[in-house]
């Protein structure tokens, strides 16, 4: 499989590019923020995604989805990133779908996702840093389980219909699909720096049936790993869009802004920094595509996923830092969009483990 987009994938990219740029450009996100929107995204836009079939991009054709892979999902995510479009796409259509695929839950939740009605949320993190540790308890209770504890950084957690929750059971970790109207579950939505909303969730003895288990009891590591691989790779693709969008705006600005009577893009120091940034972004792009292709081929992708998430974190961070610095004073103003890129990159860099987390995972994987 050559490491570039096929013609079909390229076509999808063109479609997604036009669609997202038209329906959810940065001004869309700005308008939601200025309106202090309490949902965190536009439900109409989510419906439009569904009409294009995109909410079912990873759902098998046999279940009425598009039956495509991580590469295609990433193509869409990159455009979402480039336009900073608030969307449940990453969490619902990518991470949650990947976790539920092939389980009895698919029949329950996929139709709603396909219709653009259902939104999922993922409750894994229990600390400020994603550390992969699950301490929240799910005790046996009658025919089911009782969940007690707290989760944080749960995107869409206050408006989701479905909650995927990882909790500790007697002999391992179990993944649960919890309806968000369950008794004892409270969601405290928090506005984040990028104007998105993520909830802190409290589980106060939340009772769930045995059939809420995704996969097998104590065997949640499997679906959790699928969820995280898709989530991390998807977040990487979105970061690629955020970093690329920041870079494109910055390079464009270098070609229009004059100082000392010259276009600032003609200053060699800025040229070299822009060229270095381009290189970092290109390398990150390759890393993401590699991870996506390995996942789609069903091969072991854990290293590649960590490389993708770590590298896009590094490259996108550089892109937004250089973006603000090269824009100078106006880059600091709320009026210009470049600052939104910095905020969004920070949130995505943190999501599902930051660059350090994944570099450390690589090191541990390599035995040092």
């Amino acid at each position: 499989m050559p490491l570039y987009l096929t013609d079909e994938q390229q076509m999808l990219r063109d479609t997604a590019k036009d669609f997202v740029a038209e329906h959810a450009p940065v001004s869309h996100m700005r308008a939601l923020r200025d309106a202090n929107d309490a949902t965190g995204f536009s439900r109409d836009l989510w419906k439009s995604f569904a009409e294009l079939g995109l909410t079912g991009i990873l759902i098998p054709e046999s279940e009425n989805g598009l039956g495509l892979g991580q590469v295609e999902a990433g193509v869409v995510l990159e455009e979402i990133g480039r336009n900073l479009s608030p969307s449940p796409f990453l969490i619902t259509a990518v991470a949650a779908v990947e976790a539920l695929k092939g389980t009895p839950h698919a029949a329950c939740w996929f139709p709603g996702i396909l219709a653009g009605d259902t939104v999922a949320a993922i409750a894994i993190d229990e600390h400020a840093k994603h550390d992969g540790k699950i301490a929240m308890q799910a005790e046996r209770s009658g025919n089911g389980f009782r969940l007690t504890g707290a989760k944080q950084f749960v995107a869409h957690g206050h408006v989701a219909d479905l909650l995927l929750v990882a909790a500790a059971t007697d002999h391992g970790t179990t993944l649960f699909a919890v309806p968000t109207d369950a008794k004892g579950l409270t969601a405290d939505p928090q506005r984040l720096a990028d104007a998105s909303l993520a909830a802190r969730l409290t589980f106060d003895g939340v009772e769930v049936d045995a059939d809420a288990v995704v996969g097998e009891v104590d065997q949640g590591d499997g679906p959790l790993a699928r969820l995280l691989s898709a989530g991390r790779t998807g977040a990487s693709a979105e970061l690629l869009g955020v970093g690329g969008g920041a870079m494109d705006r910055t390079v464009a600005y270098l070609k229009e802004r004059k100082q000392f009577g010259q276009l600032i893009g003609s200053f060699q120091a800025l040229q070299h920094r822009a060229a270095h940034l381009y290189s970092e972004m290109e390398v990150a792009r390759a890393a993401v595509l590699k991870a996506q292709q390995l996942l789609d081929a069903g091969e072991d992708a854990s290293n590649a996923v960590s490389v993708a998430k770590a590298m896009t974190g590094l490259a996108a961070t550089l892109a937004v830092q250089e973006g603000i610095q090269m824009h100078g004073g106006i880059g600091m103003t709320d009026e210009y969009d470049i600052g939104f890129y910095m905020k969004r990159a920070r949130v995505l860099a943190e999501l599902f483990g930051d660059s350090n987390f994944h570099a450390d995972a690589l090191a541990q994987g390599a035995g040092y």
Partner: protein
């Protein structure tokens, strides 16, 4: 002053500070809102701020090394250092934040007339008048030579027209020190340095909303503002000299940013609570530069006072200190994880961490970008060719 006298000065200073610095003013500041700026319409988060400012201002210790006839403390370098050390020991907050102290004051002391000094310096020292700075213009960015705000000669006064941008706290300031063009035929040569009341007819301001969600800067508009010629500092068309002198002082102040604030370093506190091993390594390597720069700041101030600092050394300090401060806040954001992403919650003190982080991104832009500082170092210190 002899060693014995210095020891006595230290003892007296310590006793006075202990008696006069309110307990509340010995606690760490919780954010920008705790800063005391004084002025005609002062805002105090706590009434002790005014008490502390007034007590220090009465002794001239808000500006300990200014001459006492201009409202200063009249202290020599050794005494000034002792006062600073004793304030640090007691963890006293800065009694007065002021662009009058850090920027205009030194320029007036060097270039002002006796009348200008007597009029303005005591009010600065006591925090009665809050100043803002009118340098940058929309199309002049780092390039002050492109300055367009005009001051037309009208006999005993100028008529000022134009627009400034990035005027810090212009909406809260009482007076402005401002660069205006008095000669359109020359670039840097045609600029004058003038002072005027922000209450003058024709002055208006508009706050600029920043990515941090705050508006510390304004756009400022001048529409036929009358400025008496007596308010010009230094000769006509010689404003560039004043501006350069003042910028050096501004950079000196800004370059202090790379240092941790007094008291515990929040980065080290976070590291102690436990961070991933790679972040720990990054913090450790940051500490090397941060502590080395602390020594550099001490060296710079000592050399400056002794007249041994290269005249362009403030550019190096500004460059290094601001880049370091950005790096510090990147690391702090990393220690904070998703907690540090919250923008409005109570628990996050209304997003203090991410707002402070975003605010630092301006450090390497305001007061001359890092790129400008590197140009200056390359040309004026390393003598590299054009």
């Amino acid at each position: 002053m002899s060693e014995t006298n210095l020891d006595q000065f230290r003892a007296e200073t310590r006793a006075w500070l202990e008696a006069n610095c309110p307990e509340t003013m010995r606690t760490p500041m919780r954010g920008e809102k705790d800063a005391t700026w004084g002025g005609r319409n002062p805002v105090y988060a706590h009434p002790d701020q005014k008490l502390w400012m007034d007590r220090m201002g009465a002794r001239g210790w808000t500006v300990p090394d200014w001459p006492s006839e201009y409202g200063g403390g009249g202290l020599g370098p050794a005494e000034t250092k002792i006062l600073r050390e004793e304030m640090a020991r007691l963890k006293c907050r800065n009694p007065l934040n002021s662009f009058g102290i850090s920027m205009l004051g030194p320029a007036l002391l060097k270039y002002g007339t006796e009348a200008q000094k007597l009029e303005h310096l005591p009010k600065i020292a006591r925090g009665e008048i809050r100043w803002c700075q009118g340098y940058s213009e929309p199309n002049a960015g780092s390039d002050l030579a492109g300055l367009a705000t005009s001051a037309d000669d009208a006999g005993d006064h100028y008529v000022v027209n134009g627009q400034k941008v990035w005027t810090s706290y212009a909406d809260q300031a009482d007076w402005i020190f401002c660069l205006v063009r008095t000669d359109k035929t020359s670039k840097q040569g045609g600029i004058s340095f003038v002072l005027f009341d922000m209450a003058s007819e024709g002055v208006s301001t508009r706050p600029i909303l920043l990515i941090s969600g705050y508006s510390p800067f304004c756009e400022t508009f001048f529409d036929n503002v009358k400025v008496p010629k007596a308010n010009r500092v230094h000769d006509e068309n010689k404003g560039w000299d004043v501006a350069k002198y003042l910028l050096g002082h501004e950079r000196e102040m800004i370059s202090g940013m790379g240092l941790a604030s007094r008291g515990e370093d929040p980065l080290i506190e976070a590291a102690r609570k436990g961070v991933d091993p790679i972040l720990r390594a990054q913090i450790a390597l940051f500490q090397v530069r941060s502590q080395a720069f602390k020594a550099m700041s001490e060296r710079f101030i000592d050399e400056l006072k002794a007249g041994k600092a290269h005249p362009a050394q403030p550019s190096m300090m500004k460059y290094y200190g601001t880049e370091l401060n950005k790096a510090r806040h990147e690391l702090q954001m990393a220690t904070g994880g998703s907690d540090a992403l919250e923008w409005e919650s109570e628990a996050s003190n209304h997003g203090a961490a991410p707002r402070a982080w975003l605010r630092t991104k301006a450090n390497s832009i305001e007061g001359g970008t890092s790129e400008i500082q590197l140009n200056i170092i390359a040309k004026r210190i390393l003598d590299l060719p054009s």
